[in-house]
Amino acid sequence: MEREQLKSVLESLFFASEGPLTPAQLGEILTGVERKEIVSAVEELISEYDAAGRGFRLTEVAGGYQLRTARENAEWVKKLYREKPARMTRATLETLAIIAYRQPITRAEIEAVRGVDVDGVVATLLERRLIRIVARKDIPGRPFLYGTTPEFLELFNLKDLSHLPTLKEMEEMAAPPPPDPEAQPLNREG
C-alpha cells in the first residue's frame, strides 16, 4: 500500500472507530502492512494535523491513537450537546486521584484517606466507567479492589498511568472553563 493510501485508510479508521486504536489493532486490520510503516504513517498524520491547525487532532491516548476535536474549539463543540456536561465535583476528583495513585485499593482504604464515606462517589465513578473492580483483597470479608480504566486515561488525556497529573492538575483538567476535556466527544453518553 502506498503511503498516501495508507494515510487515507488510517484517517478513515480513526474517524470511524469508537475508541482509541492501538498499533496492534491497526496491524490486524491492515494486513500486509508492516507495523513500522503504520506507526510512521500515524506519526506523519499527527504532525500534519498539528501543523494545519484544523478542527481535529490525532492524539496518543490509552496506549493507542484517537481523533479528537481541537481543544481550542471546545466552546463551540459544547453547544452541540444540549445538556451541559456534569461538572466533576471535588469529592469525585479526590476519590479518583486516590484510586489512581494508590490502585488497587479498597473502599475502606479510600475512606481512611478521605475521612468520609465514599459509597456514592465510588458508585458514580463505576457507572461512568472511570474505575473498575480489579480483584478482591485477601483479607477477612474479601473486599473489592478498585483501579482506573482506559476511559480514565482517555478523559485526562494520559498516555499511561506513569503520566498521572497532580490532583491540582486534574482539577484544572476537569473544570468547566475551557479547556474542558469532558466537552470532547468521547463517545460516551453524558
Partner: protein, 256 residues
C-alpha cells in the same frame, strides 16, 4: 423431502414472469403468451416439487395467464374491445410488468449508491446496522430453477422412474458439497449433478445447495451474463460446519 426452503431472493410472480420474458428475449408489450405460460407453469410445478413455498400469488398469476391465453385464441369481437383497450388481453399484464420493472430497476439503483455503513461510515457510535445486497450480485432463485430444469431434462428418460432406493439426505449432500468446495474452490453448477442417477437425487442435491445459500455458507453467481453458474464457499468452512451441527438441535438454540 421434508425440508421447506424459503428464500428471500424469491420475489413473486411478476419477478418470475420478467425473468422468463428476459430469458426468452421477447418484448414485455408483445408477450408470446402460450410458451411463456407453459414455462411459468413448469417453473411453479418444479417449485412445488422442491417444496418451495409457492405463495397464492403465483397461482393467481397462473390463472391469469391461462385466462389470457384462452382469450387470445378467440377472434376479437366488439365486447372484448370495450373491456380491453385495443382488444389485447395482454395489455393490463404488460402494464403491471412494466411498472414492476421500473421499481425493480430503481431498487437496483438504490443498492448501487454509497450506502451508509456499507460503503461509507459516520462517527456515530450507534451499533453498526449495516446493509448488504447479496441478492443482487448473485443469481436469482429463478435462474437456479431454470438451470435445474436443464439438468433434469438431461437425465436419461428411464432413470426417472427409478425411485431412489438409497435414501440420500439433504444434510449428507450438504457435507459432500462442502467437501468438494473445500478442494476445488469454485465449482460449476451443472457439474454438481454429474453422477446423479435419479430425479430424486438431483432434487436432494439442489435442496442442499439452497440450504447452504440460505445459511450464507456458499455463494452462487454468474461471472458473465450468459456465463455458467458457479458456486464457492462464502464463509470459513469450520464456521459452516459448526452451523450445520448446531442446526441439528432444532428448537434447542435458546438454551445456551
Amino acid at each position: 423431502m421434508t425440508s421447506k426452503v424459503e428464500l428471500e431472493i424469491f420475489e413473486g410472480p411478476l419477478d418470475l414472469l420478467l425473468h422468463l420474458i428476459k430469458k426468452s428475449e421477447v418484448s414485455i408489450t408483445d408477450i408470446p403468451i402460450a410458451p411463456i405460460t407453459e414455462q411459468y407453469l413448469a417453473t411453479i410445478e418444479l417449485m412445488g416439487d422442491l417444496n418451495l413455498d409457492v405463495a397464492g400469488e403465483f397461482l393467481v398469476m397462473a390463472a391469469t395467464l391461462i385466462h389470457i391465453k384462452s382469450r387470445m385464441l378467440l377472434p376479437p369481437d366488439e365486447s372484448d374491445l370495450e373491456e380491453d383497450e385495443e382488444g389485447d388481453p395482454r395489455a393490463e399484464l404488460a402494464r403491471r410488468l412494466l411498472e414492476y420493472q421500473r421499481f425493480k430497476e430503481a431498487a437496483e439503483e438504490l443498492a448501487r449508491r454509497d450506502i451508509l455503513r456499507r460503503d461509507v461510515f459516520t462517527r456515530a457510535p450507534e451499533p453498526p446496522e449495516e446493509v448488504e445486497t447479496g441478492g443482487f450480485e448473485s443469481v436469482s432463485l429463478f435462474d437456479l430453477i431454470s438451470a435445474l430444469r436443464t439438468v433434469l431434462d438431461r437425465l436419461p428418460k428411464d432413470s426417472v422412474h427409478e425411485v431412489a432406493l438409497e435414501k440420500v439426505s439433504v444434510r449428507e449432500k450438504m457435507s459432500q458439497l462442502l467437501d468438494r468446495l473445500r478442494q476445488e474452490e469454485k465449482v460449476v453448477f451443472q457439474s454438481v449433478f454429474e453422477g446423479a442417477s435419479s430425479r430424486m437425487e438431483v432434487i436432494v442435491t439442489f435442496l442442499a445447495m439452497l440450504e447452504l445459500v440460505k445459511m450464507r455458507a456458499i455463494r452462487i453467481w454468474q461471472e458473465e451474463v450468459v456465463g455458467p453458474i458457479v458456486l464457492a464457499l462464502a464463509a470459513p468452512l469450520e464456521e459452516v460446519q459448526q452451523k450445520i451441527a448446531t442446526e441439528e438441535i432444532e428448537g434447542d438454540g435458546d438454551g445456551a
